[in-house]
Subunit: 126 residues, 2 copies
Amino acid sequence: MFILNPQSGVPIYRQLLEQVRRMVASGQLTPGTALPSVRELALQHAVNPMTISKAYAMLETEGLLERHRGKPMTVAGQARAQVSAAKRVQQIEPLLDQLVLAARQLQLTDAELVKELRKKWEASDE
Amino acid sequence: MFILNPQSGVPIYRQLLEQVRRMVASGQLTPGTALPSVRELALQHAVNPMTISKAYAMLETEGLLERHRGKPMTVAGQARAQVSAAKRVQQIEPLLDQLVLAARQLQLTDAELVKELRKKWEASDE
DNA sequence: CCAAGTGTATTAGAGTACTGATACACGTAT
DNA sequence: ATACGTGTATCAGTACTCTAATACACTTGG
């Protein structure tokens, strides 16, 4: 359900935060949906359960998740299911900034960059 | 000369490492070129001089920079000036992977993604 | 020579991220 | 009631990142 890479340099909890935010914003996670359990995610990604739990707790503070004792965390009712495309685009701006900076410093052309992006896009098309 | 963002979550020394690598790979930094001094960069970005020094030291270990006592670090002679486009493209793969994952989770279309990328590209056109 | 410029070694400390072990409170199915 | 499923609090410890304050060795320009 989530893709967590402990080797990427990006803290695991932050990867999880961002991915949940995105999937709620896009409506792939709708209000009421139960999230994978802390222990399940931890086992699956060879990560400590508390790392997951803390990420979930932060998302609850944000109002994105709801906590029900003894039951799995669920997507909060107040979490707007479908955010406008414009607002969703805002969430990838930091990544775009990083990418464009890197491509410029490598003196790639915009054509090369777009070509590689399209290639990756197709490759992730399951 | 370099763009360092202490707030980005990516360690400063790593941002510097990557940017030097890219600019050497693209030939924007040629063998013999002197790099900005440790103290200059540190002042400019409100960062501790040792943070810069340590990044430089790592780049020397990599063979990308050369150290001359009492003089600025320079790009090493062995550092291949112009790496092939194919190899340069490899350096942005992790960023592309992150971006595509994010865009998919946000359920953006490839058209929207490419459009935003082009927009950022133009905006960074100095 | 001397002052100012290079990079660096050393040591100390703070803050964050993550691990690991343990224990607890609550809900649900049997 | 029992067993198992949730999430969580706590405490300790490790590793990494960055800051800070010194001091040193070297080169260059006056």
